[in-house]
C-alpha cells in the first residue's frame, strides 16, 4: 500500500486532500491506510456496481452557465428586449482548460459569425440533438443506466440518447450521428469514452463554438463521491482546431426525493420557427429558418 496520499492510484485521498489542510489530509490518509482491506481503502466512499465498477447510475446535471459559453465571458443582454432581465445572458467562468480555443483562422471567423447570429443559427434552438459534449451540460438532467456491456445516457433535452458500447474498440460507427458513436472502457475507476462519427452541424454552446465531422471526443467520467462526477472532454478536430483542447466541469447528482427524467420533446416548440412560413395563410413575419442542415425556399420558383 502506498504511503503517499497523492499517489496516482489513490484518487479518493487525492480528492479528499483538496478541501482540507495538509495535516488533516495526512491524518485521513493514515486512517485509510489502517483500514483492514485494501479494496475498501481504495474505493473511498463511492458506491460500486455488482461487478466492482464505480456506480454512476442515476440522474445527473451540470450546474451553471456553461451551455451559454464554454469560454469565460461577462453577462450581456439577450436577443429580445421584451424579455428584459429574464432574457439576459449570465456570465460564464469558462470550462476550457488550455487558454483561448485554438481555432484555425477560418474556423474562428465562422465562430464569430455564429456568435453574431446565434439566436437564428444555434442548432438546439431548432430542437436538434445537442451532440457531445454539449448534451452533458445543457440545463437539463440526463440519466445514466449502467450495465457491464452497455451504458445508456438518456437526455431530457430533445429525448437525445447515446448507447456506450463497453470494451468494443473495434466496433466502428455504422453511420454518422448527431450524438456520435460512443465506445467506452475503464481506466482504473475512470470511465473513458471515445466518441466519433459525428455530424458536422452541432455546436458546443450558444455562442457558436463549433466543429467539423472530423471531431473526436475523449470523455472521462470520474465518480468523486456518490453525488459528484468529475467530467472531462478532450476535443480533437484538426480541421477546426490547431491542437487538441480540454474542457472540464462537475456533474451533480439530482438530489430531490422525487427526481426523475421527464420529457422535453421540444420538436413541438420549434415547429413554428422551422415550418411556420409554409403554413397556409402564414403571417408575414414567418420567414424561412436559417442554419438548417437542409431547407426549402418558399416560394419555389417555377
Amino acid at each position: 500500500m502506498s504511503k503517499d496520499p497523492a499517489a496516482a492510484s489513490w484518487p479518493a485521498s487525492l480528492n479528499i486532500s483538496r478541501g482540507v489542510g495538509l495535516l488533516q489530509a495526512a491524518a485521513l490518509s493514515l486512517a485509510i491506510t489502517m483500514l483492514p482491506f485494501n479494496a475498501q481503502a481504495q474505493s473511498g466512499d463511492i458506491p460500486r456496481t455488482a461487478d466492482g465498477k464505480p456506480d454512476m447510475n442515476g440522474l445527473w446535471q451540470a450546474l451553471g452557465s456553461t451551455h451559454w459559453n464554454i469560454e469565460p465571458g461577462a453577462a450581456k443582454a439577450g436577443p429580445d428586449f421584451r424579455m428584459g432581465a429574464n432574457g439576459a445572458i449570465p456570465a460564464t467562468l469558462g470550462v476550457v482548460q488550455d487558454g483561448p480555443l485554438p481555432y484555425t483562422p477560418e474556423a474562428l471567423a465562422t465562430r464569430d459569425r455564429n456568435a453574431d447570429d446565434w439566436a437564428a443559427l444555434d442548432p438546439v434552438g431548432k430542437c436538434y440533438m445537442p451532440g457531445v459534449p454539449r448534451a452533458n451540460y445543457m440545463p437539463f438532467p440526463f440519466q445514466i443506466v449502467q450495465s457491464p456491456e452497455h451504458t445508456v445516457m438518456a437526455y431530457e433535452f430533445a429525448s437525445a440518447m447515446r448507447i456506450v458500447y463497453m470494451d468494443q474498440p473495434d466496433f466502428d460507427g455504422p453511420v454518422p450521428a448527431w450524438m456520435g458513436h460512443s465506445r467506452g472502457h475503464w481506466e482504473g475507476d475512470t470511465l473513458v469514452i471515445r466518441v466519433t462519427d459525428f455530424m458536422p452541424y452541432t455546436w458546443f454552446d450558444h455562442v457558436g463554438n463549433h466543429h467539423s465531422d472530423q471531431l473526436e471526443v475523449i470523455e472521462r467520467y470520474t465518480l468523486e463521491n456518490p453525488n459528484l462526477i468529475r467530467y472531462e472532454a478532450e476535443i480533437r478536430d484538426p480541421e477546426t482546431f490547431t491542437r487538441p483542447w480540454t474542457l472540464r466541469l462537475p456533474l451533480y447528482r439530482r438530489m430531490e426525493e422525487n427526481a426523475q427524467l421527464l420529457e422535453f420533446k421540444c420538436v413541438e416548440f420549434a415547429e413554428e420557427l422551422i415550418y411556420g412560413y409554409l403554413n397556409k395563410n402564414a403571417p408575414a413575419d414567418r420567414v424561412p429558418p436559417r442554419g438548417m442542415p437542409f431547407t426549402i425556399q418558399e416560394p419555389v420558383t417555377q
Binding site: T49, A50, D51, N57, C127, Y128, M129, Q143, V145, Q146, S147, P148, E149, H150, T151, V152, A154, A158, S159, A160, M161, I163, Y165, F171, P174, V175, A177, W178, M179, M199, Y201, N258, Q260, L261, L262, E263, K265, V267, E268, E271, I274, Y275, L278, N279, K280, P293, F294, T295, I296, E298, P299, V300, Q302
Partner: protein
C-alpha cells in the same frame, strides 16, 4: 438496424414455432441473470411479427392457423416477397396474404416500396390481441367515439399546417407502446440494479423504468410516453404506465389510460411482450395483446427523424405551390 437499402432480400421466413421447439427441447435452458441476479432481458429485440393486431374475421375465434394454413401462408408470403411491390407494414402483411390484394401504405405517392421491409417473423397466430377471445379490440364507448370525432374536427387540414400532419411525420413520437412492425421497429433493453432502460430506435426514445416503490409522478405532469414504474413478478418485468398527455395517441385512447406491460424471456432469442390497456372512457373493457420480439444481432442506429425532416417541408411547400398554381390559372 435501419433497413438496408443494399439488401434486396426481404422476407426471410422465420418461424417462431421453431424458436419454441428449440426452447422446449432443451430442458436445461434457463432465463439468464444479470450481475444483480435479475432476469436478463438485455439485448436488441425486433418486433417483426407478421401477425395483425386484430384477427381477420375469416378466422372467427381461432387463435392459431392450422398446419396446412400456415404452410399456405408461408408460400403466399414468399410470393408477395418475390413480386417486389409496395412495402407492407403492421397488419398489411397477413391481410395481403389472406385477401391476395396488396394495399399500399400511401397510395397517393406509393412512397414506401418493398426495400423498406425487414425480415418478417411469420407466426401461426391469427392476431396479436389475445383478450377478448375473439382477438379484436373491444367496441368503443360513446365517449371514446365522441373524442375521436372531436379530435378529427379540430385538426387543421392535412396540408394547411404542420399541425395537420400525424405525430410520427412531425417526428414527435410513434407512441407508447410503439407496436407496429415495419421498419426501425427495434428495441434495446439495458438493465442496472434498479432501473430498466427500454430504448426505442424510432425517434431515439428511451423509456426509463425505475424498479422501486416510489409513487408515480404528480398527475399534473402529463407526458407523451406516460410515467412508468416497474417491478419483478417472478421472471417477468411488469411495467405500469399512466400520466399520459391528452395529445398523445394510442388507437383513440384518452389521457387517463393505464398500461400494464409484461416482459418475459421465453427462450434465448425470444422476448414475449404482453400489454394490457385499460381505459373505460374509450373501450367497453380492457384488452390484451402479445407480441413475440425476436433477438437481433445488429445494433440500434440513431434515427435522427426531426433533424432530417425535409419531407414535412416538402409536403407543405408542395401544397402552397399547388394553391398558387390554382390561383394563377
Amino acid at each position: 438496424m435501419k433497413t438496408s437499402f443494399h439488401k434486396p432480400a426481404l422476407l426471410a421466413l422465420l418461424c417462431t414455432g421453431s424458436f419454441y421447439a428449440t426452447a422446449q427441447d432443451s430442458d436445461d435452458w434457463q432465463v439468464p441473470r444479470t450481475i444483480n441476479g435479475h432476469p436478463d432481458l438485455q439485448g436488441v429485440w425486433a418486433n417483426n411479427s407478421s401477425t395483425p393486431l386484430e384477427r381477420p374475421e375469416v378466422f372467427g375465434d381461432r387463435p392459431e392457423l392450422t398446419a396446412e394454413e400456415f404452410a399456405d401462408l408461408r408460400a403466399q408470403a414468399a410470393e408477395i416477397e418475390a413480386s417486389g411491390g409496395d412495402a407492407l407494414f403492421g397488419d398489411g402483411f397477413l391481410n395481403a396474404v389472406i385477401t391476395g390484394e396488396v394495399q399500399s401504405y400511401d397510395p397517393a405517392t406509393g412512397n414506401y416500396d418493398a426495400a423498406w421491409m425487414v425480415d418478417r417473423n411469420l407466426e401461426n397466430r391469427t392476431s396479436l390481441v389475445v383478450d377478448p377471445p375473439n382477438g379484436r379490440i373491444p367496441p368503443m364507448t360513446e365517449e371514446g367515439r365522441a373524442r375521436m370525432q372531436e379530435r378529427a374536427a379540430n385538426r387543421p387540414g392535412a396540408t394547411d399546417s404542420y399541425l395537420g400532419r400525424p405525430l410520427q411525420e412531425r417526428c414527435i413520437t410513434w407512441g407508447m407502446p410503439y407496436i407496429m412492425a415495419g421498419y426501425n421497429s427495434y428495441y434495446q433493453i439495458v438493465q442496472s440494479e434498479d432501473t430498466v432502460a427500454i430504448i426505442q430506435e424510432m425517434i431515439h426514445d428511451v423509456r426509463i423504468v425505475p424498479i422501486n416503490d416510489k409513487p408515480h409522478a404528480d398527475e399534473r405532469i402529463e407526458l407523451w410516453h406516460g410515467d412508468s414504474r416497474g417491478w419483478w413478478d417472478g421472471d417477468t418485468l411488469v411495467v405500469q404506465t399512466r400520466n399520459f398527455s391528452d395529445q398523445s395517441q394510442f388507437r383513440g385512447a384518452g389521457a387517463n389510460r393505464l398500461f400494464t406491460e409484461r416482459y418475459t424471456r421465453t427462450a434465448e432469442d425470444v422476448l414475449e411482450y404482453q400489454f394490457t390497456v385499460e381505459d373505460p372512457s374509450t373501450w367497453e373493457r380492457p384488452w390484451t395483446a402479445v407480441i413475440n420480439y425476436t433477438a437481433s444481432e445488429d445494433p440500434i442506429y440513431e434515427y435522427a427523424c426531426h433533424e432530417g425532416n425535409y419531407a414535412l417541408m416538402g409536403i407543405l411547400s408542395g401544397a402552397r405551390a399547388a394553391e398558387r398554381n390554382t390561383q394563377s390559372n
